[in-house]
C-alpha cells in the first residue's frame, strides 16, 4: 500500500512537471510580449529588446524553464514583470478567496448532490426521482455565468437580500463572509449538484439490485442498515467524480469570479492572461494543476480505504 501511495505521488509530481513545461512553452509561443503591455504602444523595438533582456525573456527556452522550476522548488515564484509585485504574495493573498468559494460550493454540491441521489434511488420511478431527473437536466444545462447574472438581478438588485458582488473575508465576520460567497458558490455548485445526484442515484440503484443486498434483506437487516452498506459500496465512483468536480470547480471559478467581481485567483489569472504576465500566469496555472492532480490522488486513496477489493490489488 505504501509503495503504491509513493508511486502515485511520484507520478503526480511527474504530471506536474510535464504540465509546467507545456505551460511554459505555450505562454512563450504566443504572439505578444509583456514588454508591450508594460512599455506601451509607443515603445520602440530597442526598448522592447532592453526589457526582454533585463527580464531574461530573450534567453533560450530550456534555461528559462530550468531557472523558473528551480525557483519554484524553493517557493519563489518570481516578481511580476507587469505589476512589479511578488507572484507568491499575490497568489497567497488571492488563494483564500477562491478556496472559500470553491470549498463552500463543493460542500453544497456534495451534500445536495449525494442527498438528492440517495433519495431518488430509494424510490425509483417515484415523484421525487422524476422531479430530480428533470431538475438535474436543468442544472446541467444552465450556464453558471448566466445563473450568476440572474441571481444578481433577483437576489441583489430586486430583493436586496445579498450584495451584487465583492468579497468579505472571514475576519470581517461570518455573516458578511457568507453573504459575499453565497451567490457565487451557488452558481458554481448547481452543475455539480446535478452531476453528483445523477451518479449517486445510478450507482446506488445498481448496488441495491445486487444479490448480496437481497441476501442481507433476507437475513433480516433493517432497511436503514442495508441502505448504509449499499451506499458505502456505491460511493467509489461518486468520490472519483467529486474529486474531478473539485478540480474543475477551480476552472469554472474563472468565470464566476469575473461575474461577481471577486478578487480571487481566477480574476488574477484573467488579468495575467490579458496583460501577458507570464510569471503570475504560470504560478496560478501550476497551482490549479497541483490541486487537480492531488484531488485525484486523494480520491484514489479514499476509495482504497472504502473498498477492500482495491486494497487487495495494491
Amino acid at each position: 500500500m505504501l509503495r503504491l501511495i509513493a508511486g502515485r505521488i511520484v507520478s503526480s509530481i511527474g504530471t506536474l512537471l510535464f504540465v509546467g513545461l507545456a505551460l511554459f512553452a505555450l505562454t512563450r509561443s504566443g504572439p505578444g510580449s509583456p514588454a508591450r503591455i508594460v512599455l506601451g504602444a509607443d515603445a520602440t523595438a530597442e526598448q522592447i529588446a532592453q526589457f526582454e533582456q533585463a527580464h531574461g525573456l530573450d534567453r533560450p527556452f530550456l534555461p528559462q524553464y530550468a531557472a523558473w522550476l528551480g525557483d519554484v522548488m524553493r517557493g519563489d515564484f518570481g516578481k511580476s514583470f507587469v505589476t512589479g509585485r511578488d507572484v507568491a504574495t499575490d497568489i497567497v493573498n488571492a488563494l483564500p478567496v477562491t478556496l472559500s468559494i470553491v470549498l463552500f460550493a463543493f460542500a453544497i454540491a456534495l451534500v445536495c448532490g449525494i442527498g438528492i441521489g440517495v433519495f431518488a434511488a430509494l424510490r425509483p420511478g417515484g415523484v421525487f426521482d422524476r422531479v430530480s431527473r428533470f431538475a438535474a437536466v436543468l442544472g446541467l444545462s444552465i450556464p453558471a455565468f448566466w445563473l450568476g447574472i440572474v441571481l444578481i438581478r433577483f437576489l441583489a438588485v430586486d430583493l436586496r437580500l445579498l450584495p451584487p458582488g465583492g468579497y468579505a473575508p472571514l475576519s470581517a465576520g461570518l455573516s458578511l463572509h457568507l453573504q459575499s460567497i453565497m451567490m457565487p458558490s451557488l452558481s458554481l455548485a448547481v452543475y455539480y449538484i446535478a452531476v453528483l445526484a445523477r451518479m449517486t442515484q445510478a450507482s446506488l440503484q445498481e448496488t441495491l439490485r445486487g444479490d448480496y443486498v437481497r441476501t442481507a434483506r433476507a437475513m433480516g437487516l433493517s432497511s436503514r442498515q442495508v441502505v448504509f452498506y449499499a451506499l458505502v459500496n456505491a460511493l467509489p465512483p461518486v468520490i472519483n467524480l467529486a474529486a474531478l468536480s473539485f478540480g474543475y470547480m477551480f476552472g469554472w471559478a474563472l468565470i464566476i469570479e469575473q461575474v461577481f467581481n471577486i478578487p480571487g485567483l481566477s480574476r488574477a489569472l484573467l488579468n495575467a492572461i490579458s496583460q501577458r504576465d507570464f510569471l503570475l500566469l504560470q504560478g496560478i496555472v501550476f497551482l490549479f494543476t497541483a490541486i487537480f492532480v492531488f484531488a485525484n490522488l486523494g480520491a484514489d486513496l479514499i476509495n482504497r480505504v472504502l473498498d477492500p477489493r482495491q486494497r487487495a490489488t495494491a
Binding site: 504566443g30 504572439p31 505578444g32 510580449s33 508591450r36 503591455i37 508594460v38 512599455l39 506601451g40 504602444a41 509607443d42 515603445a43 520602440t44 526598448q47 532592453q50 526589457f51 507587469v82 505589476t83 512589479g84 509585485r85 499575490d90 493573498n93 488571492a94 447574472i149 444578481i152 438581478r153 441583489a156 438588485v157 436586496r160 437580500l161 445579498l162 450584495p163 451584487p164 458582488g165 465583492g166 468579497y167 468579505a168 461570518l174 455573516s175 458578511l176 457568507l178 453573504q179 459575499s180 453565497m182 469575473q258 461575474v259 461577481f260 467581481n261 478578487p263 480571487g264 480574476r267 488574477a268 488579468n271 490579458s274 496583460q275 501577458r276
Partner: protein, 519 residues
Amino acid sequence: MLTVPTNRRAFLAAAAGGALGGILPASLLHAQPTSGKTLTIVLPSNPITIDPINQLNHDAMVLGQTVFENLVEYDVDGVLKPQLAKALPTISADKKTYTFELRDDVTFHNGKKMTAEDVKYSFDYLLDPANKAARRSLFTRITKVTVLGPLQVQFELSEPYGPWLYFLTKYMGIYPAGSRKEHGDDYFKSRPAGVGTGFGVFEEWKPNDYISFRKNPNYWRKGLPHWDRLVVKMIPEDATRVAYLLTGQVDLISAPPPREFNRLKTMPGITGASRPTLGGALLMYTNNLKAPFDDVNFRKAVSAAIDRKTIGEKVYYGLLEPSAVPAPSRGWWFNAEADKELGFDLDKAKGLLAKSKYATGAEFDLSIQAEPYLLDTKDAAIFVQAQLAKIGIKVNLKVYEFSVLIQQAIRGEHQAALQVFMSPGEPSYIMQVCLTPEQVLSKSTGYNNPEFNQTLAAAFAETEETKLKESYGKLQALAARDAPIGVLGYVHASNLWRQTLQDVKVNQGLTIAPGEIKV
C-alpha cells in the same frame, strides 16, 4: 422572555429565519471602514500602474491624476488651463522657449513645498532614456529644463512643437526632487504615498479589487475635495458594474454598456450623461502597403460604403459621433467638406470600386480586439462586414487580444485593424502618430506624403487658432484625397451615477474627474 420552539417543524423554521436574519442586511458588506464621506467610483479595467509617466489606459488615468498634478491641465470641457503654474506659459518669438511661473502655495503630500527644482527634476527624470518612461517619446523635443528662480522654470525645445503642452495633461506629473532615487520606480507604480501634490493621498491598493485615497487636507485649491475618502473599484463585467450602481454599493461608474445607457440613466435614483471626446477615435488602420489597400480608389470605396450614422445611432446607441476624417465633428478644427468627401454614399462606393484595381471585388482580413476598451469594436466590425458585402468586398473578421493586435499594427503585419484609439484630444496627435513616418503607428497605415508631413510640421510651430484651423483643415483635405486611414467616428465619454451626488461633470477627456464631486 425568549422561548425555544419545541415542535421540530417550528424549530427548523425558526433556525432558517435566524440564519437569514444573520445574513441580512446585505448593505453592510460594503460599509466603508473609515468614517466621513466616501466617494466610490468604478473602472471597467484593471490598472497596472498609478505612475503617470508610464500610464497607458485613459480610464485608469484617474488614479495618477488624483495623486499627481501638472503645470497645466485640461478642464472637463477640454480647455487648457494652468494647474501648478500660475498661468499658461510665455512663449518666445521663435516658439522654442517656454517659461512658467509656478504657484507658491503648493505642497507635496509629504509636506515639502513644491519649487522649480522639483519641476526640473521631474522632467529630467522623464527625459533620461535610462529610466525607460513609457511616455518619454512624446517629450523628446525638450532639450533643456532650466531653473530661473525658486518658482520660475524654462523649457527649451529643439524645434517649435506646440502639442507638448497638451500631452502634459495626461502623461506627466510633478514629484519631489530626489524622490525617484529615494523610493524607486515600483513605489510610484503601486504605492505613491507622499510624492504628489493632488487632491488625493494614496492609501491602499488591493489587487484586482480597489485602490483607495484619502483627502489631501492641505490641497492648494481650498475646499476641495468634497469627500474624505475616494475608492476606485475595478469591475470588468458590465452587468455587475451596473448592479453595483443600482444597489448603491458604488456612486459612479464609467463605461456603462451602450445598449443600456439610455434606459439606466432614467431609473429611479440614477442619473447619467455623456459627451463626445475630442481624442477618442474608432479607427480602421488600413495598411496602404498591402493589397487591396494599396489602391486609393479601393480605400475610398471602403470609406464610402460605411454608414457611420447608423453605426453611431444603432450599434452604439448614440455613444459614437460619426466622422470620416481624423477630427471630431464637434472640434473647432473639423473640416466638413473633407468629411463629406469620404462619407457614406453607396453609389459612389460602387463607382470608386469599379475604378480600382479590384473592380471585381476583393477580400481582406479585419483584425479586431477581443476585450472591449471604451466600446466593443466587434459590434461595428460585424456591421462593416455586412456593409462592404453590399459592394462585393468580403471581410474576414479575426479576433486578437489587445497586445497582439497593437503589435500587428505597429509592425504593419495586418491588412486592416479596427480599434478605439485614445489621444489627449490635441488635434494633431492621431494624424502625427498614424500618418507620418517614424512614429509608433506609422506602419499601421504605411502612409508617407511629404506635403502632409510639411503641413503638420508648420502646424506644430503655430499657436494662433485661425491659422491652425487652416492647417488642420488642409491635413483633413489631404486625408480625404488619399484616404490613408479609415475613421468611423469619435467616442463619447459616458458615466452613470447615483442622484445623491452633486456637481458631477462628464469629462471630455474621458478620465473621470472626481475632485469636485460632492458626496
